[in-house]
Subunit: 315 residues, 4 copies
């Protein structure tokens, strides 16, 4: 029992530092332009309803690659005006645009200390062939944003990029001074564990699969970025707390709430389905998404709501 007490104490320290970071959606008006006035209430909603302090903007959920450079700059401005801590995803397919956005974010951060980091993923149309090519691709962005910390956003299911991540981490730690971690969105947890074992000091791994959050914690991730934390932030923290205080059955049971919600939208597409859910929970960001994503029809919206009722989402 003595040991257990020590353990629980140790774990509660861990727990207090494990942060959940929603990858936020981009609100659209009916005519398809960005609904900037929604950013402030969105930030407040996350803080007050979801217990969320930090957001990841302009990422996959934010449909970044479907936005223009000007829109992404303006989004940065708007989030900088909130009280959320902000990580800005800066990459696009064009290195020219990516560097310009990086540089812009750095400037904004100089007068807005809540801009805490930039992140970038690989381009997906043209793909780097080697780990070094990937570092070479990221470096100009990191340099334009310095001294802001730089995170690599690993999401091979979307980019189609399969680079040896262990080799990449060695190279990036060596060559990019501001590198502080990886947002790891992949099911390959063996590689994640190897990355954690091999990492240098000050490097962190954010876990990007919210539907299996517990496996990322078990593997040693120190924070998590995900989409469901937009509307299930408290559930997310329940999972973290249960897991880290050794209550596996409860952690699984909380995790299953997210599993059931994610299962509910089936093939509707994660972004439009979750924008619909945001409406359902009272934080209306518009139901629109940019093509080639496709917004839910009214019928699909109602079906989804019905399914969510069945799994107790609104209880």
């Amino acid at each position: 029992m003595h040991l257990s007490t020590i353990l629980l104490t140790t774990l509660s320290v861990l727990t207090s530092s494990f942060e959940l970071i929603p990858a936020v959606f981009t609100p659209f008006t009916e005519d398809g332009s960005i609904d900037y006035p929604k950013i402030e209430p969105y930030s407040t909603f996350l803080k007050e309803q979801q217990n969320i302090s930090t957001v990841f903007i302009s990422g996959t959920n934010g449909e970044s690659l479907s936005l223009s450079l000007e829109e992404r700059k303006r989004l940065t401005d708007e989030w900088a005006q909130t009280s959320s801590n902000v990580i800005v995803m800066v990459s696009s397919e064009s290195i020219v645009d990516s560097v310009e956005l990086s540089s812009y974010v750095k400037t904004v951060s100089e007068t807005n200390s809540n801009i805490i980091s930039v992140a970038a993923m690989s381009s997906s149309f043209f793909k780097p062939s080697t780990a070094q090519d990937l570092v070479d691709y990221l470096k100009p962005m990191a340099e334009a944003a310095a001294p802001l910390p730089f995170r690599y956003y690993h999401i091979p299911s979307m980019t189609g990029v399969s680079i040896d991540m262990i080799e990449f981490q060695d190279l990036v730690e060596d060559q990019i001074d501001t590198f502080v971690g990886i947002k790891y969105t992949d099911t390959d947890l063996f590689t994640l564990r190897k990355l954690i074992l091999n990492k240098g000091e000050g490097v962190e791994h954010f876990w990007g699969k919210d539907e299996i959050l517990i496996t990322g914690i078990a593997t040693g991730a120190t924070s998590a970025v995900g989409s469901t934390y937009n509307f299930m932030g408290r559930t997310g923290y329940d999972i973290v707390n249960a897991f880290l205080t050794a209550d596996l059955p409860s952690a699984q049971s909380q995790q299953d709430k997210i599993v059931n919600v994610v299962s509910s939208w089936g093939n509707l597409g994660g972004i439009p389905a979750q924008k619909a859910i945001m409406q359902m929970v009272g934080m209306d960001l518009g139901r629109g998404v940019r093509t080639p994503n496709r917004a839910l029809t009214d019928e699909e919206y109602d079906d989804l709501e019905e399914k969510l009722k069945e799994v107790g989402f609104f209880d």
Copy 2:
């Protein structure tokens, strides 16, 4: 603290039932034929050195698809003579051979109660197109082996078969009476959790990724099948016990022993590398494997041994 006491008690029950099952290798003589006399000492080694009671024979590690039907029958006979509990993988690409082996295993089991189950995977050259086609493929094997329990062996990275597993589990539970579970060898833990949530009574999920054993336990698997339990069975149980008694740091640290060993063999091929390791730990099964797998050269063997020394495998 009261709650914690209850928890630890509950977990220790779980722990005691969580079983580690090595997928055993097939020993070869110098001339490439099966070295049957090695089976008995191999079983003893597993029991005494590795704390292992149950084995999975004629699976991927056993190079089953590289064996003839007669060899697989004889392997069944030999393992039936040991004191190990035995699960026999019965499928091959030909349904005719698969059914014949199923039927044979059933007969052997009638006089050898340690033959406790059969398992089968999908064919990989011709692939079932639908979940129903997969059930139709498995059914004749299950029926030939009945009343022996039947397990489905899911290993899409080898078979290339991507069937909706949730639909499959519904169909197989309904249509195969002797179905008792799935050996799940895939990194998609979201689907594994959904399978566990949807499963009928008496159905179990064996986790097939030993290098990330803790993530499978966290997800709710009730046993595990893997290759490293052949020589790191006790480490495997240390992981299980640490994890289920709420000691995550220790579970991770034990898990890392397996991570480091698996990392050591790099691109050498899991089967030949682990046969070499069996030699190193004193259970010589021969170093040979059947083509298209390729045995380690002496140099590769020495390099591997060196790397294993570096990560403390022999300590």
Copy 3:
């Protein structure tokens, strides 16, 4: 006009040597066993109705991997009794079985000169990692069959094996004395052309995509193996003759007959659909196929027949 005369003369020589070789189906009885008495009339049908002299047996269309070793031996015996020239596909997943069948075919060929060659593909569950591993896998089969000529059967869409074919051809020419060619079943015609440019003397490339036969001829293949030649052999030769006598519009128009037939069966599966077509054209091989392939239902059969009528197949 003078040049044209020379050309047409040259091409007619080419034409006369370009051979179409059906990959034959395996006839089954109602109870699922092989219907051996159908082999002789099948051979006669091919010769008299389809203008076919040489067959490729025990290949993908023949559902070889779904047969037992004994069945494949017996199939060899039966085809040896016909007047067709026979190429026997000898590989299975197990090298032991593959070598035994190779050796058996060689013995049969000693008293049956119409057995003219063996062929083998890569195993698909265990995959060779390198071109050398693939040669090492094929070599024992080639040696067991020597002095029968040996062909490699390249069909990556089924085996999942992606080896550098240029490197492979160099190695196999060097290391397997009886190697005489490749049956190339892939859409990568750039690589096919490079193989043809790099090939040694006496090596031939059989083209395995009948629905785009003209592209294989254009690329320089010297013969073709395919499934539709079982019932559209004369159309196949019409394509060859039109193409090689410089009548591209006619070659395309003949080719479109095959395009339309192949399109007719959509997702039904090539093997069961074509067995149904064999019934329709009066060469009844049974409609059955071995699981995981699935035979056409009566309704699917009728629908297919209707579609074939619409595209003029029976005219």
Copy 4:
């Protein structure tokens, strides 16, 4: 012989209309910005040295996705000032930018009649799920560019988009008035033939694989877009003429010149390798490419030049 005369006459008509269209590169200065003054001499080079009248700009070879919107507008302006006919690829990952560029090209075309068409490919990070989603994605671009003709650029190896092309063509013909054809860059010639058989009036298929140009002609493509026509335009026309005048051996022999050149650059990357070749043939566009593509080192440049000498490229 009479028939042959007719044929050759018919084919010569075909030949005269078969056009080769290079996908042009984007010239960069030493500092990585676009070297606009090179466009005019590049156009002249293509016309005078390569017999080329029409160019495809801002496509894959042009590294379009690595450019900014402003750069792509300016490129359009510059090419509009040349005497080349110009097809402008307008899509980027963001539909907003894509529509803006489409609209810009339309405006430029109003005063520059040599801007003859726009083309667009699918986005690759977010992928359309259905054929209808793809049409919905393309439609705003086509509408913004109307009445300029619209072409779909199919290049699944880069975009990762696998949509049923037959269904897509039906939908796009029905829903986009200005649709006039597909630039088909894929090895699946069976689907290309089905597209040609199913196409409506006025729809054309451009063949996008120059290393196997003859197979595209054999399949019925009416023009070709490719990279090697930048420096082997005359060879390209030699292939077309030989093929369409029934001289297959000569067509193959000319084709092999392109095969050998493409083979020469191995894994160096098609874009940087061909920019190096442009330097070698006297049309210096700079050797630079934008990351994640990587320019040839001096050593790689020299090696490539050596290999090209060996295959007689400079003869």
